[in-house]
């Protein structure tokens, strides 16, 4: 069994970390209420229990199952979640509660979302103009074209409309938006999706530059490799729950992911085993007893089906939700 050493920060160090906190999410849940078949009401427990901390000058990656609630999490932080959903739990921005009023003020200014879906762009407006509107100063074409060059876009793309751009070009336009804005917190939903290797490296470099600028970046991604390259911490999300938060240093030292789901994710990568474990995550309509991963977990025991594992802190900011993690 592994023995995890706790970091013993001094009071001063702890305070510094606290002051540097950009966003803190605790016990977040998001439930959707909608009409199902034949006017029956259905409740979808989309996010059940999510935790995250991100500091200034830090990149945190969120990886996890498709449909586990990653995009809705981003919406919930920004306060643009569906009208028929209820968000509960605590979200603090720069150590203050993120109220509805503050959110409105911060959205688009302090906090910027880079969306997953390409149809978030205005289909009729030149893409350059769409980037330009996000700039506070330097409100001119030349500045946008400079940013385009930085992200590997031809400056002529300025005058194109979204439908004339390839999949990869749209992702680059999105990152250009992040560079153009003065947001302190950038939530990027699948920013590397559909990019070639060279473009991914360019993109990750730009994300690193944002980090250097003391900004916080939350990168939602299916690309575990990209996450490991750029992120300081990786949060793993499954069925609406944080199942693991791991520090990059741990992985760099050759440590493994601690949660069985994260490990299965790792082994499913084409460059690893391309192994597809059976079944899928529980549906959002299900109320869960026991561990959410029990149905798919190769290590599940009787206990796992009855009792719910808590999210345990194993070292400063590292957590795992499994009875047997690390064994």
């Amino acid at each position: 069994m592994h023995v995890y050493e706790l970091n013993h920060e001094t009071q001063e160090e702890l305070e510094k970390i606290q002051n540097n906190l950009l966003l803190e999410v605790k016990n977040l849940s998001l439930t959707i209420e909608r009409f199902g078949k034949g006017w029956t009401r259905e409740r979808l427990y989309v996010i059940r229990d999510f935790h995250l901390k991100i500091h200034h000058g830090e990149v945190v990656a969120i990886v996890g199952a498709s449909g586990s609630g990653k995009s809705l999490l981003a919406d919930a932080i920004l306060g643009i979640h569906p009208k028929n959903s209820i968000v509960d739990g605590m979200i603090k921005y720069e150590n203050e509660l993120l109220t509805e009023k503050r959110r409105k003020r911060l959205r688009g200014n302090d906090i910027l979302l880079i969306p997953q879906m390409t149809n978030a762009l205005d289909p009729l407006m030149k893409v350059g103009k769409q980037v330009k509107t996000l700039m506070k100063q330097n409100n001119h074409q030349k500045a946008v074209k400079q940013i385009f060059q930085k992200v590997g876009l031809d400056p002529d793309v300025y005058d194109q409309i979204p439908s004339a751009c390839s999949g990869g070009m749209i992702r680059k336009i999105f990152i250009a938006m992040a560079l153009a804005s003065e947001a302190k917190l950038i939530i990027a939903d699948e920013p590397t999706n559909g990019l070639d290797y060279e473009s991914i490296d360019e993109m990750l470099f730009q994300i690193k530059m944002l980090e250097k600028d003391n900004k916080g970046v939350i990168m939602i991604t299916h690309d575990l490799e990209a996450a490991m390259k750029v992120a300081d911490k990786i949060a793993v999300f499954y069925a609406g729950e944080t199942v693991e938060v791991v520090d990059k240093k741990h992985l760099k030292k050759g440590g493994k992911f601690r949660h069985p789901y994260s490990r299965a994710l790792w082994n499913a990568l084409p460059q690893n085993g391309f192994i597809a474990i059976d079944s899928t995550q529980p549906s959002a309509t299900e109320k869960l007893t026991g561990c959410s991963f029990a149905k798919q977990c190769p290590k599940a025991t009787k206990k796992c089906k009855i009792e719910k594992p808590l999210l345990k802190e194993i070292s400063h900011d590292e957590m795992v939700r499994c009875f047997y993690a690390g064994m």
Binding site: G36, K37, G67, T118, H222, A268, F274
Partner: protein
């Protein structure tokens, strides 16, 4: 013998295309896919892969050259035998529709396909914006498996999925296309993925480059 086999192929013959008269995107593309074969193709972003995919699936006409399906030029029959699964599912599904309508549209769709692809019953009475990216993509994949489908062009179709789902879906797809003798062109930037799924891998830039020399 070769002639007979040749008839069961999706062929690009000397395809050239431009959006803008002054600028050929590519020319002299030759490519053929046999039925039951999975060809992987990768290439730089913006190099024209999606454009070629649209030409092969008859959404765009080539500026020059022709596409032959089992030896014939496209006839405008009801269901085109070459199905394109789009890179971005949100652009391929009518946002106003309930997703059940996708299956109503494709009446002859195989009963098992949705469950093979992990489509959950409860998703059917939702609209596109009420599903996650990966969930929506499954509908686009399902829709491509019409009984008349002979070829599928899969444009970066699993980059919306987590690694486990990606592996599950490709294992299922490989089984399906081999069973049904469907030829597949799989476009992806992920070379290690292509190595897992393809019988043969092509570098699109080389395909373009080879033709440039012969301009």
């Amino acid at each position: 013998m070769t002639k007979w086999l040749g008839a069961f192929m999706l062929e690009c013959k000397n395809i050239g295309f431009y959006y803008n008269r002054s600028n050929w995107l590519f020319r002299n593309i030759h490519l053929s896919i046999e039925r039951g074969e999975i060809i992987g193709i990768y290439g730089k972003s913006g190099s024209g892969k999606t454009t070629l995919a649209k030409i092969m699936a008859n959404y765009l006409s080539p500026t020059e050259g022709e596409v032959l399906v089992d030896g014939e030029k496209s006839n405008h029959s009801e269901v085109y035998p070459v199905q394109l699964i789009w890179q971005h599912p949100e652009q391929a599904i009518n946002p106003k529709w309930k997703l059940s309508k996708i299956f109503e549209e494709a009446k002859e769709l195989d009963q098992d396909i949705p469950s093979i692809l992990g489509i959950k019953e409860e998703w059917l009475n939702r609209r596109a914006h009420e599903l996650s990216g990966g969930e929506l993509q499954r509908f686009c994949i399902a829709r491509a498996f019409h009984p008349d489908t002979r070829y599928i062009i899969a444009d970066e179709i699993t980059s919306m999925f987590d690694a486990i789902t990606q592996a599950q879906i490709w294992h299922a797809l490989i089984r399906l296309v081999k069973e049904r003798n469907i030829g597949v062109l799989a476009i992806s930037h992920h070379i290690s993925l292509l190595e897992r799924i393809s019988d043969r891998i092509i570098d699109f830039n080389q395909l373009k480059g080879a033709s440039e020399k012969s301009f």
